[in-house]
Symmetry: C2
Subunit: 397 residues, 2 copies
């Protein structure tokens, strides 16, 4: 545990505008990314998919960074998924050309996606209604390009899409034909798998996602439509799927970083979690069992995803500056720029003895949400206090 000198004669933190070179010198709160863990997480899912002959199309909504994307594709751009057209434009500018924009289409996004397509980007969009097919066809004609779209398949009722047995499936495909929109394939996302934690249930959710997507493709093919791609995925199902027969590509995003929610699902250990928020102790309330830090919800996000899991991690699980977990020490409350560290209710452990100025790392509930609160990743490695790089994040729509 680091103890900064309290006499203040040697305050080693970076001044405004300077980049810190060590964790001790970094102003807080700050987002850390452990490059070794990132690479290990990337390799784990890549190997898993390679062994099954299924292409991996990473979702960039978690990382939102060209540097993170380049760790996934060290030898050149490959297929990616995005959640906003700002992401599509950003990654296109950085050399990525095979992009699925995996959010349902609206008029303004249709026009903007076709703008990208005209620029030579093979962007595929998502729809589930004849209205969207007609709208996309018109946007394609206006831009002078042939649009390509996936039909969104609903495998578990969590959001949009059509079920495999919905008669509208062939109606939408026919509307796409009529509108001059190429059917890229079908796309399913087992969002409900985030609520599971029993391995057998996760295997089952993965098989359901696969089965529904393949059934939808079969229906479309039987109706005379080419349906080349069967795209499925979520981080839990990508890691628990045993049989991927009929699936051609897998999508996942949060697996790059993992987080406490994924730990609660059972997809990773806490040692796999690649991002954390560095914070500084700014106050103590021993009579309440509290330590105050300068990471509130602005740095951690308001995400309380573990509240619905067996172990509620508050706003995050606290580690020392080197990343070693303080057992049962969580961020129990958060206001905008304050976090309150306390021992988890029911635990017999005691508060660690942290002085004002001491630094801690906080593992987040939800990597996508926490990372989005920050402008850049301070890249670190295990067993070193050096900041090796600063990787900017993009944001907005």
């Amino acid at each position: 545990m680091p103890r900064l000198e309290m006499d203040g004669t040697d305050i080693p933190h970076a001044r405004p505008g300077e980049a810190a070179t060590t964790l001790e010198g970094l102003a807080t709160p700050a987002l850390l990314l452990d490059r070794g863990r990132l690479d290990r997480n990337l390799a784990r899912l890549s190997s898993r998919m390679a062994a099954r002959g299924v292409a991996l199309r990473p979702h960039m909504k978690t990382g939102k960074s060209i540097d993170v994307a380049q760790r996934a594709y060290p030898s050149g751009a490959g297929p990616i998924t995005v959640s906003t057209l700002a992401e599509a434009e950003y990654f296109a500018q950085h050399g990525f050309r095979d992009i699925i924009y995996a959010v349902g289409l609206a008029p303004h996004t249709a026009a903007r996606a076709m703008h990208l397509r005209k620029a030579g980007i093979d962007i595929k969009v998502l729809l589930d209604s004849p209205e969207q097919a007609a709208m996309l066809g018109a946007a394609g004609r206006a831009a002078g390009v042939t649009p390509s779209a996936f039909i969104e398949i609903d495998c578990d009722g969590h959001r949009g899409g059509l079920t495999a047995i919905d008669p509208k499936l062939v109606v939408v495909a026919a509307a796409m034909d009529e509108a001059g929109v190429k059917l890229a394939g079908v796309l399913a996302h087992a969002g409900e798998s985030y609520g599971l934690s029993v391995p057998a249930a996760l295997v089952s959710a993965a098989d359901n996602e696969r089965a529904v997507a393949v059934a939808a493709a079969t229906t479309l093919r039987a109706a005379g439509h080419e349906c080349p791609v069967v795209s499925v995925g979520s981080t839990p199902t990508a890691h628990f799927a045993e049989d991927l027969t009929g699936v051609t590509e897998m999508r996942a995003g949060v697996y790059m970083f993992f987080d406490l929610v994924m730990h609660g699902v059972g997809v990773c250990t806490t040692d796999d979690i690649a991002i954390s928020v560095l914070a500084t102790v700014i106050g103590k309330k021993p009579e309440k069992g509290w330590i105050l830090v300068d990471a509130g919800w602005m740095a951690l996000s308001r995400d309380r995803g573990t509240a619905a899991q067996r172990v509620d991690q508050g706003y995050g699980l606290v580690c020392d500056v080197a990343g070693k977990i303080y057992p049962d020490l969580i961020v129990s409350q958060a206001s905008q720029e304050h976090g309150i560290l306390a021992i988890r209710p029911g635990s017999a452990r005691t508060l660690p003895d942290l002085l004002i100025g001491a630094k801690v790392r906080i593992l987040p509930n939800h990597a996508c949400a926490t990372a989005s609160q920050h402008e850049l990743y301070n890249v670190v490695s295990a067993d070193s206090n050096a900041i090796e790089a600063r990787w900017p994040r993009m944001r907005g729509w």
Copy 2:
């Protein structure tokens, strides 16, 4: 209710890089700010404080925008409160010189604040321990300036600070003297008032905040310390305080915009809420009673502050594009870029008939959190679909 043409021959949205001039032309999700409501909210609290002879020191953590600050101070800079040193530096660059940084001090923030002080900014910081006093004194000596700090007073046990009867109060003041730190005054924040909703309880919380802060100042003065400023405030107590005897200044932030949590507390009506998120319908699931929009938690934030109130507003209350509320239509679920609109459980109302491409406005639970998800405010006025201005927000630490 606007119905965009579905044939797509006339897609009027701004292209990437262009600024929209009307709501219809604005790509979504986007943050809207109603200038008339902002001005009315600002005037309401200014008048209230002027009538009581108490200075108002607005908290800039909600707006984080020089343009918003200039609506609060149309004729020149005045005293402000900030939640990060990045805010302090930003507002200092824009001409604000009287600044309280109202988060407990750490070594790196002490050094950075003294850097600002050396540049001529009258920044006051916050502490509640002799260690912080010593640290600040050393930082001041290193920078060649005399630091000025408030002692944080704990009026309701919600976070940091010392109670008015804590013997440490005079110990901290003595440590400040010894360290060469000027005692600016005492500062209390009735954070627990956010959990109230009965007017009498709010009046009582305000009086408690006042009484504790004044008692702390009295103790310090009795011990021979000058304690010129008695600073209190939270948006609820600022609006419900009846007696402010002994208080010299009031702090509040979210009152500029208000939000559904403040509506639940009873400080404002929904017609006072000045910010909203413009979203577009991207899908429909009539069999589930759902309308899907392109505003998920990335646009709305994960804040679920109304979940603990009498009326749970989900992730926000839905209005038509002109701002008229659809009664009982809320954002019932949110994923990263998807929101699901549904009628509130228990309501007999039915879903409005919104086509794909239709736009809605969503009133947020928590203005500070929702605004922080966006890069700029699209400034609008009631009874107009024109976007009058785009006001950038700052972020980071």
